[in-house]
Symmetry: C2
Subunit: 584 residues, 2 copies
C-alpha cells in the first residue's frame, strides 16, 4: 500500500479577515511541509471564517474571497510551498446556477479548493446544506453537485465538507462508488456538550459506509455565539482511531497513512449517489513506500465533562473579546456565584491583569457579599474597586414614586449604567453574569444585570454553574494553585439582594428542580402535559412554563454568549415575541 | 358560465391563540354566508397566526392546530355554516415524510384545508417554501407535492399558498394543466413599501400563466417586526382588477365571478408541473346562474405613499402593544423630531388617553426643546410630565470620573432607567424613538435612547421621518384637526443635546446625503467602491461604511419595530457581530 503523510491544520480563522486567514494558511502549511506532509487540509471556509452569515449575499465579499483564493495559491508557490496540495475552504459562487427568485443573490457557495503549484487544481461546493439549529445555509448557499476526487501520490482522495457527512447518502456513498482510498472532510462544526462522542461515532459510521479511511479536520476558536472545539480525527474503515487532535487549541496533526493504491478508471462526469457527478484531478507524485521513520500519530486524551465545558466558555469569551478588538473586560462583582464564575472564566480567558471588577453595593447588600467579592479579587489578582449606588438610588426615589419590583429593578439598572459608564470611560468590554436558568424564566432585569456585550454563562444552568465553580476550585488545588472562588460564594443560598432578606427561592423553585423541568421543556421540547405525566408537580410545571413562555423578549435582548447545549437561547431557538400559545 | 359568489376574509390572526382565531373564522364565515357566499377563504395559517417560527417544531402546538382544525369544521357545521366550503390555513404535519437528520422535527407543514359539512374535505401543504429575507421556511416546514382542485358549484378551484405564486412554475403552471377555472391563493405576505404595486403586477402575471381568474387573500395586523397590509385582490385572466380590499384593515370582500364550467376529467394522481400530483375533491352544488342582483365588487382606491407608510407604522405599533397584553405606552419626549413622530404615531395607534410622555431635561436641554415637547402634548392631549435627570447625573459624576462620550451616554442611560422605572411602576410599554439612519451608523446609546419594547420608526430613515411629520400635519389640516407636531420641532436642526451646542451634523453627514449613501450600502448591498464610483465623496463613503460595519451589536440589541423596507435591521438582515470585513 502507498503511504501518504497527511497534515490536518486545526486553526482559528477570523470571520471577514481574508488577509489574516491567508497568512495563517501559509504559516501552517509551512509547518506541515517541514514535517514532510504530502497533503495538507484546513477547515471549512478557513479563508473567510465561518459562518459569514449574510456577508455571503454581498458580492464584493464573495469576490474578495475568490481573488483571495487565487492569490493564496500563487503565494504558496512563491514561498516554496507549491508542491504539496493544500485543501482550503472559502466562499465562492456557482457559475452555472441561473439567478432565480427565492435563491440567494449571486448564487454563493460554501466551497473548498485544492491549491497546487500556484493554481487552483480543483474546486467544489458543499452538497448537503444544514438549515436547522444555528445553521441557515439554504439562505446563504446554492448546493454543489460534484464528488471531487484528487489523485495524490497514487491515492484517490475524495473530498467533502462538514454536513456532507452528517446527512445520509451524498458524498459518503459516492466516495465508496468512486473507490476512494481516503475521504477527507473539512469542517466548521460548532461545539456542543458531548459532541465529541457523537462526532467520533459519526466518523466511524461514515468511514465504514465509504469503505475507506476518513480524515476529519475542524476549526477552533469562537464566533459570536458559536465555539469550535477542533477535535480533528482520523479513523480507519474498521473504526480504529488513528489520530485525534486535542480540543480547544490550534493544532497540527500529522500522520502517515497506509492507503490502497488508486486503481479506479472511472472518468469525469460519472453519475454517483444523490445525483453527484465525479470530477477527478490528477496531482501526480509517485506512490511512496512507508517512510523509514513513521510519524507517531497523536491520539489526544479525552478531558472530563467539566473541563470541556469550562474550556468552551473560556475559548468563546477570549475569542469574542479579542476578535472584537478589546483587550480587557469589566464585570460587576456581587459576591454571588454567577459573577464569581464569570470573573474566574474571564481571568482564564484574558488574564487577571485585563479583568476589572466593580462591587456596587446598595443598602440591601450584605456584608458577606462585599467580603466575598473582595476575597475573589484577592485570590485571582484582578482589578477591583467599590462604588456605592446609594446616592443614585436616592436621587431616583426622590424624583418619582417607585415601589416593589420597580424599586428592585432600579438598583439593577443603576449598576448596569455604572458599568457602561466605566466601560465607555476606560474601554473595557462588559461581561453579563446571567445564567441559563435565569434567562429561561426571565429572572433578570432588562438594562440591569443583562447589560454587557457577552454573557459567558448564558447557556449554563444554575446547577451547572455551581458544579463548574467546584470543579474549577478543585482543579486549582490539583495544580497547587489558589482556588479562585471563595467557598462562601459557593455554599450560601443565592440571592439578588434587591430587598431585605431576599432569596431566589422566594420567586423560583429550587434550582435543581427548576433546571430539571427546564431541561425537559427547553432542551427536550416536551409539552406541559408530558412533563406533568413524567411525575412533576403540575403547579410547578405550569409556573415554569408560563415564565419561560413570557420571557422571550428579555432573552432576545440578552447579549450573545458561548453556546454549549443543543438548544441555547440564541440563533438556535427562534420563537415569536408576540405569542399567545401558552402551557404548550 | 356558472356564477360563483366568493368571499375573501382579510382578517388579523393572533400567533398562538388557536381558540381566538377559530372564533374569528366562525364570525367572518357567518358574515360571508349572510352575504350569500358560496366559497369563503381565510389567510395563510389563519388558525395559528403567522409566522409561528420555532413553534412549528413543538409537537404539542402542531397537534393543537390539527385538533383545532377538525374542531372548527365541526363547529362551523353546528352553527349552520357547514354548507359553504371554507378554506383556512393551519399548521399541520406530513404523514408521509420519514424523519431524517436535517429535516424539521415532526415534519411540520404550512397547510390549508377546505372545511365542508363538518369535515375536512381536503388538505394540502405549501409547495414553494421561502427561505430568504424574513422567511426561514426550510427550517420550519416540509414542502407539499399536491395540486388540490375542489369542484364547487360546477367550477374547478385550484388552491395555493403565498410563495407558491412568487416562485416560477409549481402550482401556477399546474393550475393551468389542471384546467382550473379559479386559482385561489391564501397569503401571509408582509408589507413592504410599494409592495402593493409588486403584488398587483404579480397576480396579473400569474393569472395569465394559470389562464384563469386569480383570487388572492392576505392578512392584516402585525406580528413582531412584520406588518401585514391586506390588499386582497381578484384579477381576471386578462389582468383586469375585479375587486380589491383596502390596506391595513380587516375586511370582507364579496364578489360574483363568472367562471368557466368545469369540464376536466383529469383524475387524482395525475402528474403535473414540478412533480405536483393532482388531488381532486367534489364538494357538489349545482352550477349557479348569475344572480339577479350581483354584488357590487369593491375596488378600494390606492392611498399615497406617506399614508401607506404611516398606516403600516400605526398598525404595527397597535398590534405589538395590544397583542403583548399592554394598553398604554410610555415615551421620552425630548422636543426633537423622532420622539415627536413616535408620539404622534402612538396617539393614532392606541389613543391619546393611553399615551404617557415624560420630558427628562438635563443641564444641556434647551428651553425650546422643553417647550416643543409640552406643545406636542397640548396639541394631542396625551399625558405629560417632566422629571429632571440633573440630580441622578450629579450622583454619578460624584462617584466616578466621567468625561466626553461617557458623560454623554450617561445622560441617555439615566433617561432610559427613568422610563423603565415608570414603566415597571405604572405598567406602560416603552416605545423607543430611534430611526433607521441612527441605527445604521450606531448614533444612539445602548440602554439609553434604545430602551423600549418596540421601536415604531426603526426602519424609517431620518429624511423620511421629516417627510412623515409634514404629511401627518397636512393630513390633520385637511381634516380640520390640530396638526400634532409643533412646527419648531420640524424646522430646527437635529441635536441630541448631550453637550453644549451639539448638533447631529457634528458627528454625521447631512441626513439627506447620509440617507442616500445608506440606501446604496444597506438596501442596495453596493460595495464601497461601487458607491464611490457612483460619484460620492470617498471620505464620506468610507466614514459611513465604517460606522455601519461596526454598529452591528447595537442594532442587534435594538427593540423590534415595524419593517417597511426590503432590508430593515431585523430578521431580514443577519450579519456577524464579530466581523473583520470592512469597507465592503
Amino acid at each position: 500500500m502507498p503511504n501518504l503523510r497527511l497534515a490536518l491544520c486545526q486553526t482559528d480563522p477570523w470571520v471577514g479577515d481574508i488577509a489574516r486567514n491567508g497568512d495563517e494558511v501559509v504559516h501552517w502549511t509551512r509547518q506541515a511541509v517541514e514535517a514532510g506532509a504530502q497533503l495538507v487540509a484546513f477547515p471549512e471556509m478557513a479563508l473567510t471564517g465561518y459562518p459569514v452569515e449574510d456577508l455571503a449575499l454581498r458580492r464584493s465579499f464573495v469576490e474578495a474571497s475568490r481573488s483571495g483564493l487565487t492569490g493564496l495559491a500563487g503565494r504558496l508557490a512563491a514561498e516554496g510551498l507549491g508542491e504539496v496540495p493544500v485543501v482550503v475552504g472559502y466562499l465562492g459562487r456557482s457559475e452555472q446556477a441561473s439567478p432565480r427568485f427565492g435563491r440567494p443573490a449571486g448564487s454563493p457557495q460554501n466551497c473548498a479548493a485544492v491549491l497546487f503549484r500556484g493554481e487552483v487544481a480543483t474546486r467544489f461546493a458543499k452538497h448537503h446544506l444544514p438549515n436547522y439549529g444555528v445553521f441557515d445555509e439554504y439562505r446563504w448557499f446554492v448546493p454543489g453537485d460534484q464528488l471531487p476526487v484528487v489523485r495524490v501520490h497514487g491515492v484517490d482522495v475524495a473530498l467533502a465538507i462538514c454536513e456532507d457527512i452528517w446527512q445520509d447518502g451524498g458524498r459518503v456513498t459516492a466516495a465508496r462508488e468512486a473507490e476512494a482510498g481516503l475521504l477527507l472532510v473539512i469542517n466548521g462544526s460548532p461545539y456542543e456538550r458531548n459532541k465529541d462522542d457523537a462526532r467520533l461515532e459519526l466518523v466511524r459510521r461514515r468511514a465504514a459506509e465509504a469503505s475507506c479511511t476518513l480524515a476529519y479536520v475542524n476549526m477552533v476558536g469562537g464566533q459570536d455565539e458559536l465555539v469550535f472545539d477542533g477535535d480533528s480525527i482520523v479513523v480507519a474503515p474498521d473504526g480504529e482511531v488513528l489520530a485525534r487532535s486535542p480540543q480547544f487549541e490550534e493544532h497540527l496533526l500529522v500522520l502517515d497513512l497506509d492507503l490502497p493504491a488508486a486503481s479506479s478508471d472511472h472518468t469525469d462526469g460519472l453519475l454517483l449517489a444523490d445525483g453527484l457527478h465525479l470530477v477527478r484531478a490528477e496531482l501526480g507524485g509517485e506512490p511512496a513506500d512507508a517512510p523509514a521513520e513513521r510519524v507517531r500519530a497523536e491520539v489526544a486524551p479525552r478531558i472530563t465533562d467539566e473541563a470541556e465545558i469550562w474550556s468552551a466558555l473560556v475559548s468563546g469569551t477570549r475569542a469574542y473579546v479579542h476578535k472584537n478588538g478589546f483587550r480587557s473586560v469589566l464585570i460587576g462583582l456581587s459576591g454571588g456565584i454567577d459573577s464569581a464564575v464569570v470573573a474566574a472564566l474571564a481571568v482564564d480567558a484574558v488574564g487577571a491583569g485585563n479583568v476589572h471588577c466593580v462591587s456596587m453595593p446598595s443598602r440591601y447588600s450584605s456584608q458577606h457579599s462585599r467580603d466575598d467579592a473582595a476575597e475573589l479579587a484577592r485570590r485571582t489578582g484582578l482589578h477591583f474597586r467599590t462604588v456605592s449606588i446609594a446616592p443614585m438610588f436616592d436621587a431616583y426615589v426622590a424624583a418619582t414614586e417607585l415601589t416593589g419590583l420597580a424599586e428592585e429593578n432600579l438598583q439593577s439598572r443603576l449598576r448596569g449604567t455604572l458599568l457602561m459608564a466605566i466601560s465607555n470611560q476606560e474601554g473595557h468590554l462588559v461581561l453579563a453574569p446571567g445564567n441559563k436558568s435565569e434567562l429561561a424564566v426571565g429572572y433578570s432585569t432588562l438594562y440591569g444585570d443583562s447589560v454587557g456585550a457577552y454573557g459567558p454563562i448564558k447557556d449554563v444552568y444554575k446547577s451547572l454553574v455551581f458544579r463548574l465553580a467546584r470543579w474549577r476550585n478543585e482543579e486549582a488545588e490539583r495544580l497547587g494553585e489558589v482556588p479562585p472562588i471563595p467557598e462562601n460564594t459557593i455554599v450560601k443560598p443565592p440571592s439578588a439582594e434587591l430587598r431585605p432578606d431576599q432569596k431566589d427561592t422566594d420567586s423560583l423553585p429550587d434550582y435543581d428542580l427548576l433546571d430539571t423541568v427546564l431541561d425537559l421543556y427547553v432542551e427536550g421540547d416536551q409539552g406541559r402535559d408530558a412533563i406533568v405525566a413524567a411525575g412533576f408537580d403540575p403547579a410547578v410545571v405550569d409556573r415554569v412554563v408560563r415564565l419561560v413562555d413570557t420571557a422571550e423578549y428579555k432573552r432576545r435582548q440578552y447579549p450573545p454568549g458561548p453556546k454549549i447545549s443543543v438548544k441555547g437561547f440564541g440563533r438556535d431557538r427562534r420563537l415569536p415575541i408576540t405569542n399567545r400559545w401558552r402551557r404548550g
